[in-house]
Subunit: 207 residues, 2 copies
DNA sequence: CGCCCACTGTTAAACATTTCACAAATAGCA
DNA sequence: TGCTATTTGTGAAATGTTTAACAGTGGGCG
């Protein structure tokens, strides 16, 4: 087993898991079959899986149920994760009402905003709290994952409070790149930049 | 100028542009200063920019206004792009009401849903149309970019219709990987997978 | 029990991207 | 004009990732 895991291998693991979910009724699946289901090469499937351990049986393939258990254990999706949401605007509200996350073990347990018109409202069973209560609430609940869906202006300050409260992983939707220490994992979802990537592709293709 | 541009250089270009916007009041900026503003190395800034041309002046740096113009021209954000939105649910509604895209030259010009309760409603000045009208409307307006925010089940069919209608670039939020021909650029925003990446990080860090 | 087959795990090669280090270029100034 | 300070642009090296090829392993079967 190599000891350096490419960052891109982790989301592929999630996709292999989804493919396994579609493979009901069989006991074993080969890297070739997983390749067809995911559009990654069979070599990459095997390589990716060996980054994390040895799960296959030569001559048979991978035991589907065993591999599923292994992947959820590696990703940590066998546990339940409590999530704090900061910024209950258009996007935050959509995220709050999305039921898909709970199926993966992610549960929004508290939500915060700085706008008095939003504080106190109850959405999807969650009462929106004032951002001044963020630190205390996150510490009390020992929340480790936060979603930031505030305006760009508020985002860095919110991220600082989250880190000070012990949050170790942040999904940020605001169009800035917040500064975080190396011990905190930050993922930025920057939709304007994604659209610009598409515009670049179109511009390049058509002259 | 090398002829192979790393895919990752394109979103970095967007980030350099943002940094330039923050650099008002100066005429020139060095790769070192851009490095500080973006947290990429100065060497990477210079290398990235030379992928697309020669914009700097040795001894002085990059002319800020000129570089801004160059970047928007490369990305295509100097033009206006009409966007079609398919799936006006929680997420689609949030995207529709987001004003930030228009500032970058992206304008949602039509929206579609298959749910009778949504068809005919007007949101943000856009009347939600039946998906059966998708092909005709997209062809008539010559839309090149589409956002897919339907349920997972509907997404592949919607993508097929979009491609048949001439759409060349798609931003997909449904948790599947639609099949598209190589001539179409597809970007997937898969929030469950992003959360799983965070869970992996937390699991790995804490044992 | 031993052979064959199918498929994994892995070594090595190919490919891609980033970093390093410096020659070449320009501005500014005496 | 010639010299110096500065900063670009870019070969070359280092690093990282993917693909290819196959040796080795285990299971099934005669
Ligand atoms: N809505 C979209 O489709 C979309 C698309 C791309 C990017 N974004 C980004 O996502 C973020 C949220 O977008 P939105 O459309 O929901 O915006 P929004 O204005 O509807 O909501 C932002 C919310 O954050 C709250 N907020 C601001 N500062 C805060 C703070 N310090 N603490 C707590 N709450 C605070 C505001 O009160 C508001 O309720 C923005 O940064 C936006 O740029 C959104
Ligand atoms: N809301 C979120 O925060 C969130 C988070 C992660 C992923 N997603 C994904 O984004 C997508 C949209 O999420 P949502 O919360 O808005 O869901 P939603 O159920 O609120 O909205 C989906 C909309 O798509 C429409 N639709 C379904 N099939 C269609 C078709 N064939 N043509 C046109 N419209 C069709 C539905 O009528 C509905 O209005 C889903 O695939 C979801 O898995 C959403």
């Amino acid at each position: 087993m190599l000891n350096k895991i490419p960052q891109a291998a982790v989301p592929r693991l999630s996709l292999y898991y989804r493919a396994l979910l579609e493979s009901r009724g069989k006991d074993y699946i080969s890297s070739e079959e997983l390749s067809k289901l995911t559009n990654f090469t069979a070599a990459q499937v095997r390589r990716d899986l060996t980054y994390f351990g040895q799960f296959g049986t030569p001559g048979k393939g991978y035991a589907i149920e065993g591999l599923k258990k292994a992947i959820v254990s590696i990703l940590g999706t066998d546990k339940n994760w409590d999530v704090a949401l900061v910024g209950v605007g258009n996007l935050g509200t959509a995220l709050l009402s999305y039921r898909g996350f709970e199926q993966q073990g992610f549960r929004v347990v508290c939500a915060f905003d700085s706008d008095l018109r939003k504080i106190g409202k109850t959405l999807e069973g969650i009462k929106v709290q004032d951002t001044t209560e963020l630190e205390a609430a996150v510490k009390a609940k020992n929340v480790q994952i936060a979603i930031v869906a505030t305006s760009a202006e508020g985002a860095q300050k919110v991220v600082d409070i989250l880190i000070g409260s012990g949050v170790k992983a942040i999904l940020n939707f605001a169009p800035i790149r917040p500064h975080v220490p190396p011990s905190v994992n930050l993922l930025n979802i920057d939709l304007s930049i994604e659209l610009e990537r598409l515009a670049y592709f179109l511009t390049k293709s058509s002259g």
